[in-house]
């Protein structure tokens, strides 16, 4: 066997600098949250501060409504994730496997909505929410995102790729259509579900534009909306913004790490199948 010139894969030479590049903004954000505004605004910028301050964290945590923003964001994101997993799986499976009149037209219409920008539908959506008396409630944030065309598309593509014979075997083994979905298709769809969950969580958690329109009162704010209150027209409390950002980013990182394990599992298991 030939002796390797390097004790690690040559890919690492490329990947390690890239990883540092991507991690840098996060590191800077964490560091900045422990600086005073004077240190942050200093020019040229200091990357490694000479002293640590908790003034930013103090501002954020002192704000009475901050915990409720976190809870609000959590409620909206969790409900959206769960409902997307349920509804997108059901719809995706139906489009992949059931043949009903107009199914391809309906699917094409759903896909077509992907090209309509949200800016075009936000005012009609607002009017609908107003008529439903839901403006300034969390329901206004949750209902428009209960099921997304992207999720339906993602799940449908995955279900189409599942071997039909496995599902037929389950039908012969005594499963109904729903049984096949629950006992065979969904367990096999874990990688797709993990992707959908991570994606939905990220979109919902980071959304700012729709909450700005649909939410007015301080206590109904979500985190991104709340963070904007640290940026006034004339003053910028950067230390508070950065501390708030750190708190906001943590659940996203956790969600990604949780989903990542499933991604890797699915990649390695399919590699063994051969």
């Amino acid at each position: 066997m030939r002796e390797r010139a390097l004790p690690f894969s040559p890919w690492h030479l490329l990947l390690a600098p890239a990883a540092i590049l991507f991690a840098l903004p996060f590191a800077w954000m964490v560091l900045s949250s422990f600086m005073s505004n004077a240190q942050i605004n200093h020019f040229p910028p200091t990357i490694i501060p000479d002293s640590l301050h908790v003034v930013g964290w103090d501002h954020v945590l002192r704000r009475a409504t901050f915990p409720s923003w976190f809870v609000n964001s959590m409620i909206v994101a969790s409900v959206t994730v769960v409902s997307n997993l349920v509804f997108c799986s059901l719809a995706g499976y139906a489009f992949a496997r059931l043949r009903f009149r107009g199914s391809s037209l309906l699917f094409a219409l759903i896909i077509a909505t992907l090209i309509i920008p949200f800016q075009l539908t936000m005012i009609p959506t607002f009017i609908v929410m107003e008529r439903l008396n839901l403006v300034d409630t969390l329901a206004a944030l949750i209902i428009p995102g209960l099921v997304t065309p992207l999720g339906v598309f993602l799940m449908r593509q995955f279900f189409v790729s599942l071997p039909r014979e496995v599902e037929e075997a389950a039908r012969i083994d005594g499963c109904s259509r729903l049984g096949v979905l629950l006992h065979v298709a969904i367990p096999l769809a874990r990688p797709a579900l993990a992707t959908l969950a991570a994606l939905t969580f990220l979109i919902s958690w980071n959304d700012l534009l729709w909450p700005v329109i649909a939410i007015n009162s301080d206590e109904t704010f979500t985190l991104p909306l709340g963070l904007t209150t640290f940026q006034g027209q004339h003053t910028q409390d950067w230390a508070a913004v950065m501390a708030g950002n750190v708190i906001t980013a943590v659940p996203v990182v956790v969600a990604f790490l949780l989903a990542q394990r499933t991604f890797i599992e699915s990649l390695t298991s399919s590699a063994v199948k051969g």
């Binding site: 014979e165 039908r171 012969i172 065979v184 096999l188 298991s269």
Partner: protein, 399 residues
């Protein structure tokens, strides 16, 4: 256990393709029925119709005394083994075996007992906690069989279950399957395109083409008395030698060759297709009847198979290239594919002789033809001609 009755079943797909065309078939209680035919002949569709995975366009399917035509696969009490095995990749072997029982709400003690017994029988004991991805092809195949057997269904349906295995494993699994059916004589419908599997496993074999059953008979009868040109050309390996010939005055002629037909029915005259099995051609050795007609052959190719040899030679007469023959030989290396030169419009024959004879390509040899083993088919329709006055009787005397 239960008999299967298929009554005038037609299956037309959405794209207007008729996969199964007015098929009626009865599979006896405990019988091993093989459906065989070239790809696209409708054999798998017919199996899926029995399973309930396809709905019939017309006709009825009965299992036992129950009309199951409109029933879901789950309610038919059938078990199926798929070509790809179709194991549940996310479940262990034990869970794969138990899944069908669990869905049918069998008590968990009973499930454990039956799964363990099945694992013992098929030698899966050490594999019970593995997932299908960690099994070899042969092991997956056994799990797929076990999953079907453990349910103790009324009928087994098998869709080319051995075709993903390598040749050696396939041969041994074939034997195992035959033994298994002796052990558990459950009504079985088995689909294959491999005629050796069909002939060795089936108590009866139904030969299909274009969605219709051409002949359904015991394997030996299919070989001895093919109902038409397609069955004649499809069954038997190497394939039956076919040549355009004419019958006149009790003689059948092709090229320069003339063969006296023994006991030919009066009035049989005109153009026919003559079929001679490679095994009906033999070297004129002492035990061969001296009265048998001879033909001389210049050997093109010798295929030494060890115990036997196939010698290939050309006959100075036009080959038979009707649609029937092309369909029958299409996936087994047809007469056209075996031809090197496209403009060679002569029929190619194969004779099977024993392996010791020192023959090389280029030799000219004399072959004796067993006149009782000749097959005559109508030129147009391809239907077998009952040319003997007492068809079939002579043949059995010789066997």
């Amino acid at each position: 256990m239960a008999a299967i009755r298929i009554e005038r079943v037609t299956k037309v797909f959405d794209n207007k393709v008729t996969a199964v065309d007015d098929v009626s078939l009865e599979v006896g209680d405990g019988e091993f029925m093989v459906l065989v035919g070239p790809s696209g002949c409708g054999k798998s569709t017919l199996l899926r119709v029995i399973a309930g995975l396809e709905q019939v366009t017309r006709g009825r399917v009965l299992i036992g005394d129950d009309d199951v035509t409109g029933l879901d696969p789950a309610d038919r009490d059938v078990a199926m083994v798929f070509q790809s095995y179709a194991l549940y990749p996310h479940k262990t072997v034990r869970e794969n075996l138990a899944f069908g029982l669990r869905r049918r709400r069998v008590a968990s003690d009973e499930i454990r007992r039956r799964v363990d017994a099945m694992a013992d029988m098929l030698g899966l004991g050490v594999l019970l906690d593995r997932k299908p991805a960690a099994l070899s092809g042969g092991q997956r195949q056994r799990v797929a069989m076990g999953r079907a057997l453990v349910r103790e269904p009324r009928t087994f349906l098998m869709d080319e279950p051995l075709s993903n295995l390598d040749a050696k494993l396939r041969t041994s699994m074939r034997g195992e399957l035959a033994r298994l059916h002796e052990l558990l004589p459950t009504t079985t419908v088995y689909v294959t395109h491999d005629q050796i599997e069909a002939m060795t496993l089936g108590q009866r074999v139904a030969v299909l083409k274009d969605g219709r059953i051409q002949q359904c008979d015991a394997p030996q009868r299919l070989f001895d008395e093919p109902a038409n040109l397609f069955v004649g050309a499809f069954i038997g390996s190497p394939a039956m030698n076919l040549v355009e010939a004419t019958v006149a005055g009790g003689l059948v002629r092709f090229g320069q060759q003339e063969i006296q037909l023994e006991g030919v029915a009066p009035g049989l005259e005109g153009d026919v297709v003559l079929g001679i099995r490679p095994t009906s051609l033999s070297l004129p050795e002492p035990h061969v009847n001296a009265a048998w007609p001879r033909m001389s052959a210049r050997i093109d190719i010798v295929e030494a198979l060890g115990a036997e040899r196939n010698v290939l030679f050309t006959v100075d007469a036009p080959p038979v290239t009707t649609e029937d023959v092309r369909a029958a030989t299409g996936d087994a290396g047809g007469s056209d594919e075996g031809r090197l030169l496209a403009d060679d419009r002569r029929a190619r024959f194969t004779a099977r002789i024993h392996g010791q004879h020192p023959i090389v390509a280029g030799d000219t040899i004399e072959l004796a033809i067993d006149p009782s083993q000749l097959h005559l088919f109508e030129r147009g329709s391809g239907a077998a001609l009952a040319w003997r006055r007492s068809a079939g009787l002579e043949r059995r005397e010789r066997v």
